[in-house]
Symmetry: C2
Subunit: 209 residues, 2 copies
C-alpha cells in the first residue's frame, strides 16, 4: 500500500508516520519507483503497537524505542526479556537494594522476590503509601488479592504466543499489560458497584435519569 | 496538640496545613488562648486522608474538596454516595449516553449496567483502546477477569465499616480504591513474573547481581 493508505488505515497523521520512519521506529517500505515506497501489513501492525504505547499507555517516545528495540532484538533469555520489556512501562519507580514490605508480601505469597524487578519497587511504594494513610494492607487481604491475581496471570501467561517466537511473546506481554490494566481497574470498580448493590439492597437500583 | 505537632506528626508543611484550614478542607482547632488553637486526632486523621488523595492518588484540590464534602455530608442513599465519591477519583472520562462495549461485557458478567456510572465510561475506553490495537479482549478473558475481580470486590465490600456510619464507609471506599489500586497492579505484574518463572523453568531464576 502507499503511505497515504497507511495513514488512512492507522489513523496516524502523515507527519507523524514520516517522523517514525526517520527515527527508525517504523521500518522503511520497499522502493517502488524513484519517489515512492510500498508498505504492507507489517507497517500497519507496527503503527498499532506504537499507537497503543504512546496513546493508551502514554509512554514517552524514548521508552517506546526501548520496547521496540527489545521486540526487534529479543534477549535470548525470554524470561529476562519479558521482565525488561514490561519494566519499560510506567509507573517509573527508582529501584533500591531492598524493599522490605514487598519482600514480606512476596515471601508470604510464596512468589519470586527479585529486588531489581521494577514491579517490586512499585509494590513497595504502594504498600508504603497505604501504610502512611493508616490503611496498611492486612495479611488476609494480601492472600486474597494475591490468589485472585495469580489466577488472572496464569490465564495471561498461558495465552502468550510462545510458538510464534520471542518477539511475539514480548509484544504480547507489553501490550497486554498496557492495554488490559485499564480494563482490570475498571472491572474492579464495577465489581465493587455490583457487590455493593447486592449488599445494600433495594436502594441499589440505578436511578433512571 | 499544637499546630507544630500536627505538622510534625502528619509530615505536611505548616504553610500547607494553614492553607487547608483557610480553605475549609481541615476543620478549625479549639481556641486555646487568644492566639493559639488546639488540635486532636481528628485533625491528624483528616490530614492523612488529604495526603492520600493529593499525593498517592494525585488528585487536584477541587476533586479532594468534592470527596471531603461527600464524606462530611453523606447522601442518605449510601449506594449512590459511594458511587459519586469513587467517581471523583481519576481517570476522568466523559460519560455519554451509551457504552456499547461496556454494556455487552457487563451483560455477559450479569452485572449492573448504569451508563452514567463513571467506571462504565472508563471500561468502554479501555475496551476500545484494546480493540484498536488489535488486541480485543475475548469473552473467555472477560469471564475470568470478571470472576477474579468479583472475589476481590466481595472481600473489599464485606470489610466496609458500615456500622461506623456512612462517612466512614465513604472514606473507606475512596481511600481503599485510591490506595489499593496501585497494590493490585503491582501484584498483577508480579504474578505474571511468578507464573512465567514457573512456565519458563530454569532460565527463570532471578540472576544474582
Amino acid at each position: 500500500m502507499r503511505i497515504s493508505e497507511l495513514v488512512a488505515e492507522s489513523g496516524i497523521p502523515l507527519p507523524t508516520v514520516k517522523y517514525y520512519l526517520r527515527e527508525g521506529l517504523l521500518h522503511p517500505g520497499v522502493a517502488a519507483g524513484s519517489r515512492r515506497a510500498s508498505y504492507d501489513r507489517s507497517h500497519l501492525h507496527r503503527l498499532r503497537v506504537i499507537k497503543a504505547l504512546t496513546e493508551t499507555a502514554a509512554l514517552p517516545l524514548t521508552k517506546v524505542k526501548v520496547i521496540l528495540e527489545l521486540i526487534d532484538h529479543p534477549d535470548p533469555d525470554l524470561f529476562r526479556a519479558l521482565g525488561t520489556a514490561v519494566g519499560a512501562l510506567p509507573p517509573y519507580v527508582e529501584p533500591v537494594d531492598d524493599h522490605p514490605r514487598a519482600r514480606e508480601v512476596l515471601g508470604r505469597l510464596g512468589q519470586v522476590y527479585d529486588p531489581h524487578y521494577p514491579a517490586v519497587a512499585q509494590l513497595e511504594q504502594a504498600l508504603s503509601a497505604a501504610e502512611q494513610a493508616g490503611l496498611a494492607i492486612s495479611a488476609d487481604r494480601i492472600d486474597l488479592y494475591g490468589a485472585a491475581l495469580r489466577q488472572v496471570a496464569a490465564y495471561d501467561v498461558a495465552r502468550m504466543p510462545e510458538a510464534d517466537g520471542a518477539s511475539a511473546s514480548i509484544e504480547y506481554a507489553v501490550l497486554g499489560t498496557a492495554l488490559y490494566e485499564p480494563v482490570l481497574l475498571a472491572l474492579w470498580r464495577l465489581a465493587h458497584q455490583h457487590v455493593a448493590a447486592e449488599q445494600l439492597g433495594a436502594n441499589a437500583v440505578p436511578p433512571a435519569r
